[in-house]
Chain length 396, copies 4
């Protein structure tokens, strides 16, 4: 385990719980104090302030990179050199070019590379993906992912040089991969339109952004990220398709509601803003945020010799889309997603079978307040639209 | 009452309920059958197929225009000529230019012009506006309005020539005005970025669109409209501010949930797709959709000689923004909102007081899982960001 | 309008809004200050401290009684003597015997008596009753009404002598009538089991109670009332039937959610406990609480010469059930509802058609995780139960 | 693993997932076909139709009993005889007497006994218990647990002789233990009032029941169980305390909502009634239902030589309360909970510090719509209650 910040803590606790076979043996931090304290608190056998030592350690078969973004590339090079499997926290890199180099490094070395995109692995997302793949909502037309909170918990996130940007990098990377999973990984992201602004915080990076991602099938991805949201951590996804829709709330409205006068005063949930009034705790945070299923998939994939659901290639695509977001925010127009290395199979344009009634195209049928069935028909020869009230007349 | 379609029916029923002082005396439809049937069913004293007769009728002191979009301009001219107050359904016109002529007509004639934008008047919206204006959520940074359903209920909506467009016109007009109310009517809409596509229905107009509207204060408006949503009518608004957030659900999750095996089989709510399974009825549709408060404001405004909350000028601004949406969907870049006639007072850029701790800028404070308070500080002289763990240390 | 407390205020504001034809002409309070202040603030033409003068006033055709419970009987006698229609706030009286005398007084005098049970008239309740009556949820088996909050807002409520009891009287009267509406007014309430205790407040009356009401059809009513609930005003109803279920939330989760840091600091909603954190305002309180539809029904009924939905007879039945609650809380067993005057038509026992499969009774059919259909059958001759896996086999 | 029904399947899948150290080695079913099929499908090494063989098997260090209720006692005797740790599914037995014999058997043999009450272990329940124990909601005054669905999935449940009763046994056992956890296991359950009826299904056992459980502290437990609920599986818990409240929804409203036209047609969740319309899937069912945390606690407890959170003693208390429920349903009055063996520490009566204002007892303080603070005070010498409007006056 490289890194002893909040993410390293969440990862380690996830691995050490629920009678897992997989344990953290060595923890690295550049600070001796933090390394030692972390090892003691979390029951990790050894600690070190020498990154290469941690990687090379004989008890290490897999390295988990939980370091700030600007350290990913060099760290992964060390792992590759030592032939160790590497699992890297999100985002893979600060730019598409950096991500491509990381991807190449790992693939050249032939080591396992897992992209730790936890929010693609939440139990709700996995079940929702199953629904989408089973055809329950038809062709996906739109996927929205929203991730907003009052701002990150470590100083380096706020420094655009170390982080590579603001919430587009920090949170947008989650949203993009959620959107890609719902819209389909074979569906090429073609171009991006992005708005970004620094509205509230005294920083250089953006603190709010919205982006649209247009895919090959015509489907549109949408994400909203913010470091100025008040009220906790808002993680919601919505998917619309030709046959249905899916709404996911991962954090604020999950069937767990509490009111407290403030007595007690305990920790409620990550980024919650208060311990009194109406509170919305989360049952098992690391499970609900996808950490449990993510590591299961990673280790199962290694054992089975298959690729995990989220690979370094996915991390690269995410970074390429982020690059397009920043270019678009600057150019103020749609910008192409530059993917020199596109591996998707390609998909068809969204389509729906045309239905006929009396030789005309059925545009819509609707039940009126009085119970009658109304059809809206288009006469393709004249281009005219007409209403027909058909009492449950059959449509073929 | 001009028009006997769904909107004319909703308007009339709204006026005739709850012991109101205001009644519909004459109804007009170009179809004799519909005019007569409507008058009988709704208890309207007189009906006619002659529009000018209905307007000129001595019992008519106010004309309500519930006709398709392409007939608004000529109808309002008739009302102005006869010196009658006129309340026009949304959108005011098909384009900004048409809306400007309508506005000029009414202002020149000196008659009362009310813009029937019902969704700005829903009880929840009115209460939420009160919260916003009282400062409860601070400066508004973002307002999202989403209006999607499976498609409109009359043939003319689907014909781009008569309607002036697809859901951008039909539903976007609501969203834009909701956004303007939350962000502030003195806050000038500067430019628009819009995506539109025809994904599912066999029509020329768009059936899905998303737009961003950038305002003078830096605040961003966002709307999503669709005629391909499955699951009923999704009317949701979200507002974020520097001190809070507001979420409104007007139709699908209002504290009214029902499951039915399908027995009974009654009308549930406008655009609901089924009468079995889990259903989400709305208590009092015309009230929840704002019709009641809208007409109250209109008639109270007339009685008091003041402007209503929603005027023809607002309708004109909405149409100008819609124009920019269509231009942007075409040009694929941000397009200015062209408002030859801007009457807003103007607003300041969103700002937040800078707070200091130990001579550094406070970027964020957060309670950690272990209860400690963490401050993120920026040293403005060096540009560096640091974490400080301060146990409830005072911040000034 | 007799009374200038919170209820008098809500009633008057309800009557004076939304362009109503019905206005309050005279207001009475025993305090001159309050009468004058109320009249001025609410635009009431005249005020008096002489109750009989207010009733007898020529402008008064209907008297609205908004006084504490112990004053209802004598006040209604005055109204009856003067031949005025009388609308009385809930509960009708403190006991069933008192309620019966009030009922008799009004019926003997032949004046209109309306029971102001607002929560039977909320828009959601009215729509839900429509669903129930249309058969959407089949035969009602269970109706739960929960009304809890941190305690009432006037001193007299807390005094058992004036109020007739604690929350069983104050809130239970609402719950009982909601339950009766859902289960059916022809369905005789047979007996009651009630638990009551004084857990938190330093008072003599109960501050928490739960009761079960068994009806003739076998259906069970359930209510929970409390003056110690923290978190606002919790008004929820649930109904279960053989074909479906209905869940209503009138106050805390109505599709209106807000978070505020506390800036602004406005009034949020009746009995809300805070103005910061997550808040759950209600759009239009007097409408959502049923006041609007209640007065509409009352005045429409008077105009039409019909009985309103809620009559003094209903008030009497409610008091009789409350009496049984107190007796049961004391005796610790089921107590009969004593209704010397029962006017319901009577109903059948809940029943469901028996279905057969292979000559056996079908107890249940269920779709298993693997998609197969499982039938549970009972052999009536042997009394044995068996599972049968039937792949979509027809059941008749 | 003894038993190959739905519960055996859920248990096995829970144990075999998420990289667990603990595996099922032998499965027993009295049917050879089911034993073999189960072993193959779930990757269990060995199967047998000889129960004692499965228990005695050298690879078996822990026996999991997933058999019908009437087989628990004899099976656990076999386990005790062979000195194997035993985990028994809920309910422990059919009656308190039977449960006591089971408890004695295990304690005499000195083997580990874990009571598999999964719903006490859901992630939400565990987090909520943490909130309660930290004092966030003060003293618990009321806990409600509701478990209703359209009826169980195996024939033996419906046979009162094998099951020991209807939903009071099947579902009430969950509710009782949830209630006990929230109200506190040292808080002695004193007496029970229960209503039960067979309203819909053609069976001898009850299909609906409601019970109240009065505890030593004055707190009241409440449960509602039904085999006739329509709309899926309704698992909700509510807890009220002197300082707050907690609402849990485990199954139907968990932040996962989907609408489907019916395309696809997949399995949605346990006991869901449809695959079209609005659906409420659950992310990870076995985790959300508590299976994961339950087995973790059981095996961790065995490893650590401590008692698990849910012991056979708890199972015995649950059965004693169920006995009282059936007695009360029969006698129609409160019935004592007969606990010959009570091991709880005992608790104090719920109490709240009395506060004073001007020498009077403060009953309540409330913010009025106009912003003023209203105090309700009781003069203990006269017994009178008065309202005082105090503008933010300090209360001590």
């Amino acid at each position: 385990m490289l890194g002893t910040g909040l993410i390293g803590l969440f990862y380690t606790r996830t691995l050490h719980r629920q009678r897992s076979r997989d344990l953290v043996h060595v923890v690295y931090s550049r600070s001796e104090d933090r390394a030692r304290a972390f090892a003691e608190a979390e029951g990790v056998a050894e600690w070190t302030t020498d990154l290469e030592e941690a990687v090379a350690h004989p008890a290490t078969d897999t390295v988990i990179v939980g370091l700030p973004n600007h350290l990913h590339e060099e760290t992964i090079e060390v792992c590759a050199r030592h032939g160790k499997a590497v699992l890297c926290t999100k985002p893979l890199a600060r730019t598409g070019a950096e991500a491509k180099r990381v991807l190449d490094t790992v693939e050249r070395a032939g080591v396992f590379g897992g992209y730790l995109e936890d929010l693609a692995y939440t139990p709700k997302t996995l079940k929702a993906l199953q629904l989408v793949r089973s055809g329950s909502i038809g062709d996906v037309t739109w996927a929205r992912s929203r991730e907003t909170h009052p701002g990150p918990h470590s100083a380096w996130f706020w420094d655009a040089k170390q982080a590579g940007g603001g919430p587009i990098v920090d949170l947008g990377c989650h949203c993009i991969e959620i959107v890609r999973n719902f819209i389909g990984k074979d569906n090429r992201p073609l171009e991006v339109m992005c708005w970004a602004d620094t509205l509230v915080h005294p920083i250089e990076a953006e603190d709010n952004a919205i982006a649209l991602i247009r895919f090959e099938s015509g489907a549109i991805g949408q994400f909203e990220v913010s470091w100025t949201f008040r009220g906790g951590m808002d993680l919601r996804d919505e998917v619309a398709g030709t046959e249905g829709t899916i709404w996911l709330d991962h954090f604020l409205r999950t069937g767990f509601e509490a009111f407290s006068s403030g007595a007690g005063g305990d920790y409620v949930a990550e980024k919650s803003e208060s311990a009194s009034g109406w509170l919305f705790p989360v049952g098992d945070e690391v499970s609900e945020l996808g950490y449990v299923d993510m590591f299961t998939d990673m280790f199962d994939a290694m054992d089975a010799g298959r690729a995990p659901m989220e690979t370094f290639y996915d991390g690269y695509v995410v970074n390429a889309i982020i690059d397009a977001c920043y270019r678009s925010a600057e150019s103020r127009q749609w910008e192409p997603v530059e993917l020199a290395d596109w591996r998707g199979a390609g998909v068809e344009r969204i389509a729906r079978a045309r239905r006929e009634h009396d030789g005309k195209t059925v545009i819509k049928e609707e039940k009126m307040p009085d119970g009658r069935l109304k059809l809206i028909l288009k006469d393709e020869s004249t281009g005219e639209f007409v209403d027909v009230v058909a009492n449950a007349a059959p449509v073929t």
